[in-house]
């Protein structure tokens, strides 16, 4: 059964159709890529899945639940986490706090219990902290733990965004251009890292990426958007040879 089933969603802003008739099915453990020229609607599709935009029509089903019009925090609770094209860390919080805040949603103690520092709260708090520290350790971020997230080098900030997303215990991770601004060596490491976390945290991954080396290297399946329309879907080999895709990226040669 498919973990995530996006059925024919269309997102319109006034007269502009940003995404039209977009469908996607994601199985457990799959890595699927979403590519397309700038302004093709890739991030809009992400925003519709994570609840930031409500699709104008169509439906989204996640693990048997209809999440089409759910609030973003509820969707995150069910198990869809994401990172952002432009890093959106809480730069005023420490690295550790960025991860802890994402743990927030799984805590049971109330505000009152926290104020009174009840034993149950303290136990929960300790467990969270331990888990967050382990997570940061696993992503080689331990030594930055108490620094402000905003002061981290760019590459580490990207990692921290992923760490923060993982702290919500997602089943699906959406990555919006994780390799943006990375050199070939870094993007190679990123590929290994993505496969590693997929196995370790039992994830399905849906990613937007421009680095063809990355996309072709790790995605099992690729969707191509152009002007909001899905123009191709298939294995990396299919996509590389697809005439429409080449046209969308390179333009069509016309006889002058």
């Amino acid at each position: 059964m498919n973990l995530l089933e996006v059925k024919n969603i269309t997102v319109k802003f006034g007269g502009l159709t940003a995404v039209s008739d977009f469908s996607l099915s994601l199985k457990k453990g799959e890595i699927v890529g979403l590519i397309g020229p700038n302004g093709a609607g890739k991030t809009t599709a992400f925003n519709a899945i994570t609840g930031i935009y409500k699709p104008t029509s169509g439906g989204i089903n996640f693990g048997g639940k209809d999440i089409t019009r759910m609030q973003p925090d509820k969707i995150t609770k069910l198990g869809i986490a994401r990172t952002f094209q432009n890093i959106r860390l809480f730069s005023n919080l420490s690295v550790l706090e960025n991860v802890l805040v994402a743990h927030h949603l799984r805590l049971k103690s109330s505000f009152a219990a926290a104020m009174l520092r009840l034993p149950g709260y303290l136990r929960e708090e300790r467990a969270m902290r331990k888990e967050a520290e382990e997570l940061l350790g696993g992503l080689a971020l331990s030594r930055f733990m108490d620094e402000k997230a905003g002061s981290l080098p760019y590459g580490q900030q990207r990692r921290l965004e992923i760490a923060r997303a993982l702290a919500t215990h997602p089943k699906i991770l959406l990555l919006d251009e994780p390799a943006a601004g990375m050199n070939p060596k870094e993007s190679h490491e990123l590929m290994e890292f993505i496969e590693e976390i997929r196995d370790k945290f039992d994830l399905s991954i849906f990613m937007i990426e421009h680095h063809m080396q990355v996309v072709m290297g790790i995605c099992e399946r690729i969707l191509v958007l152009d002007h909001g329309v899905t123009i191709a879907e298939g294995s990396p080999e299919d996509i590389q040879g697809n005439q429409k895709v080449i046209e969308a990226y390179l333009g069509v040669e016309t006889d002058a």
């Binding site: 994570t50 609840g51 930031i52 609030q71 973003p72 925090d73 995150t76 609770k77 986490a81 994401r82 952002f84 959106r88 809480f90 730069s91 005023n92 919080l93 706090e97 802890l100 805040v101 994402a102 927030h104 949603l105 799984r106 805590l107 505000f111 926290a114 104020m115 708090e125 923060r164 919500t168």
Partner: protein, 297 residues
């Protein structure tokens, strides 16, 4: 001026400043998260004072119980206002929610006039607060010391909550980026509600102590302290909690010392805050502790 006299004024200033600080926190916390100047915050002070007044006068509660009752009730009212008047407008343009805040403010003032009556009432002040304490040649009324002690304790408590608890962490995350906070599974509605509750509870304590200090109660008493505390928050850097405290103390001390040193200007006492506001907006619009925000283009 003798040193004793200066000390007396200084303690007075700290006492007033700590009241301003307590109330200014509510403006700054709310602004930090929802980017709204909650103009109804001043009238919250008035409600808190009336709740004590009725608690003692009508329900014959002991004063401390009435104070507790008032703090809880005021926090609930603050949360209720957010639910009723601001939450439905969260996606509307910023100006709509601001107008709504002004509307709530007018509503509360007129509600006060209709329901509580416009005639000033005497606020009940227990004897503990009115004792005269002599320190050498300085004699102060006990309230003048109790106010800063309570206020500073609460301010420290608030700083602790914001910096060390999960809810505080979530508040800071929301103030940085509310959309991302949602995507990290933070229940933003709950955090906003708690922010209003916490801010209103602090304002309630401020309002009750205001009533003890200036024991004349009428439905418009919240306006002036409300405006001044808003200025305090702006002076310190709106959205910045230590800034609001600093702004509160600057305004309180400044106001008292101005009158002490230049008695001729005592008629301009209230103008002091507004002059400071104009100066800060001219020369440091982000406030003393406010960060310069470089907008990315």
């Amino acid at each position: 001026m003798t040193f004793e006299l200066f000390l007396q004024h200084f303690i007075n200033g700290i006492s007033l400043g700590s009241l301003y600080a307590l109330i200014a926190i509510g403006y700054t916390m709310v602004y930090g998260i929802v980017r709204l100047i909650n103009f109804a915050h001043g009238d919250i002070i008035m409600l808190a004072a009336y709740f004590v007044f009725f608690g003692v006068g009508l329900f014959h509660m002991p004063w401390w119980l009435a104070a507790l009752f008032s703090i809880v009730l005021t926090a609930l009212v603050g949360m209720g206002i957010e639910k009723a008047a601001y939450k439905p407008l969260r996606d509307a343009p910023r100006i709509s929610i601001l107008i709504s805040a002004i509307g709530v403010s007018f509503f509360l003032e007129n509600f006060g006039i209709v329901v509580f009556g416009g005639r000033p009432q005497a606020f009940y002040s227990p004897e503990v607060f009115q004792r005269v304490i002599k320190l050498g040649n300085v004699s102060i009324i006990s309230l003048g010391i109790i106010i800063p002690i309570i206020a500073i304790t609460l301010l420290l408590g608030l700083v602790y909550v914001v910096n060390n608890t999960r809810t505080g962490m979530a508040m800071r995350a929301c103030s940085k980026d509310i959309d991302t906070a949602k995507l990290m599974g933070i229940d933003v509605d709950r955090i906003i509600s708690l922010t209003f509750g916490l801010g209103s509870a602090l304002a309630a304590v401020g309002g009750i102590m205001w009533g003890l200090k200036y024991p004349q109660l009428h439905p418009l008493i919240g306006i002036m302290p409300g405006l001044k505390c808003f200025i305090a928050a702006v002076v310190g850097g709106i959205g910045n909690i230590p800034g609001a405290m600093l702004g509160g103390f600057i305004l309180g001390l400044g106001e008292i010392l101005l009158v002490a040193f230049l008695p001729g200007l005592s008629g301009y006492r209230d103008a002091f805050a507004f002059v400071i506001l104009i100066l800060i907006l001219l020369f440091r619009p982000t406030g003393i502790l406010g960060e310069k925000v470089a907008e990315k283009v």
